[in-house]
């Protein structure tokens, strides 16, 4: 009986561990941190054992939890004082592989975006989520997701043309304070 329950609890881990790792990595930019985040997400799942309407609902819940854990860590005083989370360290890049496509240089630029733009862009382009789904996962309006996709794209263009600007850090801090909710 206990064995069956264990197997049941492990099922979502097997299903979602890869995508959750990628989302966690895109936020934390380190293999070790990303693995910790995924582990924490499954601990929260085992503690609360939520009931889901569908597989999509279940997946969205896990993604939301992972994003929230990343926000919590980045908000912490220790993290903000010791880790510069603007750039992906080169030694960490090898720990990130996208399925179904070759390496894409723009991906690293997406990861360097302020947190409010990073997740919508990453989910839209690299995990093939629709605007509607992203809005549901991130608890934002569809219009806000569209705006963030557009502004994030403009910011990447700006950074490619004129180099990295630190001014967007304010936006990151604002979004982190509000737990990822609409920061406008």
């Amino acid at each position: 009986m206990l064995r069956n329950e264990e197997k049941e609890a492990e099922a979502p881990f097997a299903k979602y561990k890869d995508i959750l790792y990628r989302i966690a990595f895109s936020n934390m930019k380190s293999k070790a941190d990303a693995e910790d985040v995924v582990q924490e997400a499954f601990c929260r799942y085992l503690k609360s054992r939520p009931v889901f309407d569908s597989e999509n609902h279940e997946k969205a819940w896990f993604i939301r939890v992972v994003i929230n854990i990343c926000y919590d860590i980045q908000k912490s005083a220790w993290f903000s004082k010791t880790v510069a989370f603007d750039e992906v360290p080169e030694r960490e890049m090898k720990h990130f592989k996208l399925p179904f496509m070759e390496e894409d240089e723009t991906l690293w630029h997406v990861m360097e975006l302020p947190v409010g733009y990073r997740n919508p862009l990453y989910l839209f382009y690299y995990e093939d989520y629709s605007i509607k789904e992203i809005a549901r996962i991130m608890e934002l309006e569809e219009g806000t997701v569209k705006t963030r996709l557009r502004r994030g794209r403009e910011l990447i263009k700006e950074r490619i043309l004129y180099g990295t600007e630190k001014k967007s850090r304010d936006f990151t801090e604002k979004v982190l304070k509000e737990g990822g909710k609409d920061a406008y």
């Binding site: 894409d104 996709l149 794209r153």
Partner: protein, 185 residues
Amino acid sequence: MRISEWIDAKGISNGPGKVNAKKLYDISVDGCKIKEEDGFRSSLQKSIVQEEAMKEYQARAEEKKRPNGKAPASIEREIGNKNIAIRLEQKDAVKAGKEVPARGIPYSECDMVEINVLEGYVLKAKKEERTEGKEKKNYQVYVEKKSDDGEVAAYLFDGPSSRKDSGDEMERIAYAVMNRNELKG
């Protein structure tokens, strides 16, 4: 009330910060020349000719439609004694593919995925087999374009007739998928 009158009434012109506004009688009539070609009549004529040329262009493109036909890049027309060259951008040209409802295929099912973050879209392409008549097999490429404004467009391209140098990015990916798979065998 005229601006100059308003300025006079407010007494602004008498103040220390004098407004640099010309009074109506200061403006010379000689400076106002009306160009003949900018007239309403000629612009109307131009737009009618352009519209006709566009229709003709579309008709020609339909006639020449695939496999070897290429739409003309420009059309020349005359208005009176003047020649107007109407250039047509490739993206405005008639699409080589056939518009179909988007299926929302996942990346895992695609033969090729092109992510273009800077332009704000993703292209997903899948090569499919199509049977024409008795045992005659052909290929078509299903291409889906997901844009960051929420639009999703899907087209079916006839595999062998898709062009490498097309101005349409959807047709280009269709060509790439066709040729990549052929190389792989």
